[in-house]
C-alpha cells in the first residue's frame, strides 16, 4: 500500500516541487560555503574583531535563551493548561514580535529601554543600561526569540495527556512535584525545540540589535560592517566562519534535545 502510494504520479509531482524548495534553501548556502578560500577563512578566524563578535553573539544568544527558559516555560504552561478570559489577547501578544518588522521592534525597545525611556531611566539609576551594552543585545534578541520558545513549549505541554498529571496528583504528589517530575520531563522535547528556535532567532538577529546596541558588535553586525568597509570577500569569510560555528552548535543542540525513548529490558511483552 505504502509502496503504491510512494510510486504514484502525485508523489512524483510533489517531490519535484519540494526539490525546487530544497534547492532554493541549499544553493545560496552552498555558494557561500564554496566562495572563500581556506586562507580567507584562516584570516577571518585570526582577526580579533571577528572572533570577539562571534563569541559575543554566542554569549548573548545563550543568555537570551536562558532567560526564555525562565520566562517562557511558565507562560507556556499557563496557556497550555488554563482557560481564562482574554486568553486569545495574551496569545496575540505573545505572537506580536513575530509579526512586526524587527526594525520597528528595535525602535519600540529604544523608547522603553534607552536612557530616557520608560524603564531605561529608572533602571539606569541602579546601574542597568541597555544602550550599547551586552544587556541591550540580550534584550533585543530575547524580544524576537521569546515567541518561538513560548509557542513550542506550549505545544510540548499540550501534547501531555492531562490525565497523566492528574494520576500523579491523586497518588499524592503536589502541583510543584507533578510539574517537576512528570510534566517537565514529558515536555522536554517541546521545550528543547522552543529554546533551540529561540536561540536560532536570537543569534541571527540584526535589525532590533543594531538599533539598541550597534556596539559592541555582534557577528551579524560585524559582517555587515565588513561588507560596507572592506567589501564582499572579507565579509563572506566572516559569514562562513559564523555559519560553521552556528551549524556546529545546532547539530549539538539537536543531539541533546532529540527524543530519547527509555529502554527497558529487551524482553518482549506477552499479551
Amino acid at each position: 500500500m505504502r509502496r503504491a502510494a510512494r510510486g504514484s504520479p502525485m508523489f512524483w509531482v510533489f517531490w519535484l516541487i519540494g526539490a525546487t524548495l530544497l534547492a532554493f534553501i541549499a544553493l545560496p548556502l552552498l555558494a557561500l560555503l564554496l566562495h572563500p578560500t581556506l586562507r580567507d577563512l584562516q584570516h577571518a578566524a585570526l582577526t580579533a574583531d571577528v572572533r570577539s563578535a562571534i563569541v559575543l553573539s554566542l554569549a548573548a544568544a545563550l543568555t537570551s535563551t536562558a532567560l526564555a527558559a525562565v520566562f517562557a516555560v511558565p507562560l507556556a504552561y499557563v496557556l497550555a493548561r488554563q482557560r481564562f478570559r482574554g486568553k486569545s489577547a495574551v496569545e496575540a501578544l505573545v505572537d506580536l514580535p513575530l509579526t512586526i518588522p524587527h526594525t520597528v521592534a528595535g525602535i519600540a525597545l529604544l523608547l522603553v529601554f534607552s536612557r530616557g525611556g520608560w524603564l531605561g531611566a529608572p533602571l539606569a539609576r541602579i546601574g542597568l543600561e541597555f544602550w550599547g551594552t551586552f544587556a541591550g543585545i540580550v534584550l533585543a534578541m530575547s524580544y524576537v526569540g521569546l515567541p518561538y520558545a513560548v509557542n513550542a513549549a506550549r505545544g510540548g505541554f499540550e501534547a501531555i495527556d492531562l490525565r497523566i498529571e492528574r494520576a500523579a496528583r491523586i497518588q499524592g504528589a503536589g502541583p510543584w512535584e507533578v510539574f517537576r517530575r512528570i510534566t517537565l520531563p514529558l515536555a522536554r522535547q517541546g521545550i528543547g525545540t522552543g529554546l533551540t528556535l529561540c536561540f536560532a532567532r536570537a543569534i541571527g538577529e540584526f535589525a532590533a540589535v543594531v538599533l539598541l546596541a550597534y556596539y559592541p558588535m555582534t557577528a551579524p553586525i560585524r559582517i555587515y560592517d565588513l561588507f560596507l568597509q572592506s567589501g564582499l570577500r572579507q565579509s563572506v569569510a566572516a559569514a562562513v566562519l559564523f555559519l560553521l560555528v552556528v551549524l556546529g552548535l545546532f547539530w549539538g543542540l539537536r543531539l541533546l534535545t532529540r527524543r530519547r525513548r527509555p529502554l527497558g529490558p529487551q524482553q518482549p511483552a506477552q499479551p
Binding site: 495527556d161 490525565r163 497523566i164 492528574r166 494520576a167 500523579a168 496528583r169 491523586i170 497518588q171 499524592g172 504528589a173 503536589g174 517530575r181 512528570i182 520531563p185 514529558l186 525513548r261 527509555p262 529502554l263 527497558g264 529490558p265 524482553q267 518482549p268 511483552a269 506477552q270 499479551p271
Partner: protein
C-alpha cells in the same frame, strides 16, 4: 493478600452534589456507599460519569453539595490530600518511568507492593516501561497504582474499555477478587451493564447528570424504575402493550394486555401502588431474555404461574456458551430468549419454525 491490602475503610456520602463542565451541569446527587462496598454507576456516553469521578477526586470543583468519606469532608480538599485511588479510562501511566517507579510515586513510596504484584502478575514487568507492555498489562499496572497504599476510596473509570474483548473476562475476574479482598469503598463507572452487574454491590443508573435509580444490584436489574433505566440496564424484552380488558370475575382479577387488539398475556400480579389500569391504558412489560424459556411448539404451561406464548423463530446466534434466539410473538412483537446448546439441539428449530416461549409470571415487570 487480604492482610496486606485490606484496611478499615470508610463509607462515601454525597449530599446534594452538583458537578459540571462548562455550561453543562448535573442535577443534585445524593448517594451513600457503605464501607467496603462497590457502587457501579451505569450510563451512556455523556451521562456525566467521568465528570462525577473527577469531581469526587477533586479535579473539578463541586458546584454545590458536599462529599464526605466517613467523617472527613473532601469537598474542597486538593486531590493529593483526599486519599483516593483513581484508575483512569486510559491507563494514564507515566510513560517515562518503569512500572516500579509508576507504583512508587506518592502514596506508593513506602507501600508493600508484593501482594499487588502477585495478584496482578506484575512482578516480571517491574523494570519495563509502559510502552513495552500490552493493553491488558498496562491496565493491570494502572489498577495496581490505584490500589497501592490502600486508599480510602477507589474510583474506577471504565476499567475495561481500553483492552481487547478477549482479555476482559480475566481482568474482570481479577478486579472482582481484588475489590472483595481489599474491601475498599469503590465507585466504578461503566456503560456496560455486565460490568455493573458483576462488580457492583450497588448499582446506580445515571442519565444526563441525573441519578435515575440506585439500589442493590439484583433489585435494580430485576425492577428498573422506568423505561429509560430498563434500556440502560440492557433489558432485552420491552413490550409496549395496551390494556384490552379487566376481568374482575376471575380470582385473582386479571388484566388482559395486548398489542394491536391481539391479546398477549393476562396480568394477575399486584399492580404498583396507586396504579389503576383501565382499558385503553398503555404499559410496558419487561422481561430479561435469560428468564424466557424456549419450548417446543404448542407446549402447555408446566406449572401454575407460568405463561406460554406462541412465537416463531426469526434468528439465532451463538453468544459465548449460549444461543440467543430472536422470535416474533403471534401479535407481531419481538421477543428474545436464551437456550443452552443441548436445549438448542433438542429443539432442532429452523428459521420461521413455531415454538413456545415459557415465562414465569414473577419474572415479568410492569412499567406504567
Amino acid at each position: 493478600m487480604k492482610a496486606a491490602v485490606a484496611a478499615p475503610h470508610e463509607g462515601l456520602s454525597v449530599d446534594g452534589l452538583v458537578w459540571g463542565i462548562g455550561a453543562w451541569q448535573s442535577q443534585p446527587l445524593h448517594l451513600r456507599v457503605p464501607p467496603g462496598q462497590t457502587l457501579a454507576l451505569l450510563g451512556h456516553n455523556g451521562a456525566g460519569k467521568t465528570a462525577l469521578l473527577d469531581t469526587l477526586a477533586g479535579f473539578l470543583p463541586a458546584r454545590a453539595g458536599s462529599i464526605h468519606l466517613g467523617r472527613r469532608e473532601l469537598t474542597t480538599l486538593p486531590p493529593e490530600h483526599r486519599g483516593i485511588g483513581y484508575m483512569f479510562q486510559n491507563d494514564a501511566l507515566f510513560p517515562h518511568w518503569t512500572v516500579e517507579r509508576n507504583l512508587r510515586l506518592g502514596r506508593g513510596a513506602r507501600a508493600d507492593l508484593d501482594p499487588l504484584l502477585d495478584v496482578l502478575d506484575l512482578r516480571r514487568w517491574l523494570r519495563h516501561y509502559p510502552h513495552q507492555l500490552s493493553g491488558g498489562q498496562r491496565q493491570r499496572v494502572a489498577l495496581a497504582r490505584a490500589l497501592v497504599g490502600a486508599p480510602d476510596l477507589l474510583l474506577l473509570d471504565e476499567p475495561f474499555s481500553a483492552i481487547d474483548p478477549e482479555a476482559r473476562p480475566a481482568l474482570r475476574q481479577t478486579l472482582a477478587e481484588l475489590l472483595r479482598t481489599a474491601a475498599a469503598t469503590t465507585v466504578l463507572v461503566t456503560h456496560d451493564a455486565r460490568d455493573a452487574q458483576r462488580l457492583g454491590d450497588l448499582v446506580g443508573v445515571l442519565d444526563s447528570g441525573r441519578l435515575l435509580q440506585c439500589g442493590a444490584t439484583q433489585a435494580v436489574f430485576d425492577r428498573p424504575a422506568d423505561l429509560r433505566t430498563a434500556r440502560l440496564l440492557g433489558v432485552d424484552n420491552l413490550w409496549p402493550l395496551q390494556v384490552l380488558a379487566a376481568v374482575r370475575t376471575q380470582q385473582p382479577p386479571a388484566i388482559v394486555l395486548g398489542h394491536d387488539a391481539c391479546p398477549v398475556l393476562d396480568w394477575t400480579q399486584p399492580l404498583p401502588a396507586n396504579v389503576a389500569l383501565r382499558p385503553g391504558d398503555r404499559v410496558v412489560v419487561m422481561v430479561r431474555a435469560e428468564h424466557v424459556q424456549p419450548l417446543p411448539a404448542a407446549s402447555r404451561p408446566a406449572a401454575d404461574g407460568m405463561l406460554a406464548l406462541p412465537a416463531k423463530l426469526t434468528a439465532a446466534r451463538l453468544e459465548g456458551p449460549l444461543w440467543r434466539l430472536h422470535c416474533e410473538l403471534a401479535c407481531g412483537l419481538n421477543a428474545q430468549a436464551y437456550a443452552l446448546p443441548a436445549q438448542w439441539r433438542e429443539l432442532a428449530l429452523a428459521l420461521g419454525a413455531p415454538l413456545t416461549l415459557g415465562l414465569r409470571r414473577q419474572d415479568l415487570h410492569l412499567l406504567v
